[in-house]
Symmetry: C2
Amino acid sequence: MNRTRPQSRIQARNSAAILDAALQVFSQQGFRGATLDQIADVAGLSKPNLLYYFASKEAIHQALLGQLLHIWLDPLRAIDATGDPVAELLAYMRRKLQLSREYPRESRLFANEILQGAPRIEAAIKGELKALVDAKAAIIRDWVAAGKIAAVHPHHLIFSIWALTQHYADFDVQVRLVLGGEAVDPYPEAQTYLETLFRKLLAP
Amino acid sequence: MNRTRPQSRIQARNSAAILDAALQVFSQQGFRGATLDQIADVAGLSKPNLLYYFASKEAIHQALLGQLLHIWLDPLRAIDATGDPVAELLAYMRRKLQLSREYPRESRLFANEILQGAPRIEAAIKGELKALVDAKAAIIRDWVAAGKIAAVHPHHLIFSIWALTQHYADFDVQVRLVLGGEAVDPYPEAQTYLETLFRKLLAP
DNA sequence: ATTTTGTTTGACCAAATGGTCAATCGGACG
DNA sequence: CGTCCGATTGACCATTTGGTCAAACAAAAT
């Protein structure tokens, strides 16, 4: 397997199939609970063939976590200090909710990793993520100081956006079971509810 | 092992040690990721000795989930239709936050179970939990109709209380890493923040 | 057509895992 | 003291698991 040279069609297809299968299995079972046999099965490949494309179970997991961080941090990065404060924060919440809807498996993979004590992602959290959060928290603090939004604790505001949006991906099963019929899509009402919540919270 | 007859001191002590150890391991690794050897190790017992007290890995997990539901539902049950609406809901949030602080492992055990698709707790969610949530949602709907709190979607209000409070237990590692120093206790600020949030959201 | 390079797999391995069991230990009690 | 019964464990077992490897297969490249 050569990762520097551009991948052939067959490499691209199989790597993608493996990562997709692994995402499915890891996000549901966690790292230790997942097995290469399950992943191989879902991917439609033999176990030795998996290991032809990835050096180990660890390597597959690492590849997924790597991808994940991009997807995860982009919406936060997009918060613009020069934009309208309430609009910026609401837009961030909406992007994050959209992520939960479109990438629930990624959200659960992340949740699993954190639940396990973040052994394989601690560095990124302490480094990249913390730096970005601190930067955006500073912006929020300025907005508060300028009286453009109500006085809120910046870090906890960000945590609350994470908690409220990721809940719909991570606890999807529970949300749907409690709401009743399987056909229910909780997202439209969730978005309305969260917009109200944050508008009232942030109104200066 | 005889569960009908009152346990001897030694039985009580060892069962408790096993359940405590199992809670630790299951909540971090999930059901599949946990091993009897780990649990035995943490409990300070031999593996065969574990299986003298519990019939199987499954049985230990079941025992934990059973306990869990009580602890989990009581604060919700305590919401009083005749009390002051905002005070009742704030008190519920506070009790739930307290639970996250005092029983973070239980919270993570629950989170793990839901992430895995709730295979061993689906019935309880569809039954007991859903019934209780629906009952309390009806109370909230009445409060809204009576103009005692702002118009909010009752189920999503409850979800938001769960999401916001459980986040501090389930994502504890992340919260502490992002906030910085290890010595930080995020709960006091979290409580202040959440009180503000829900007061503003619910104000009629 | 043949070589070369990349892809796939059956067979295999050592370690880990859930679970069993006969044998032993230890304390309470006659 | 000896008996009894609950508590404990070393040895063991079948299966699962992450990983290896040589051999077979396929697809380009010559």
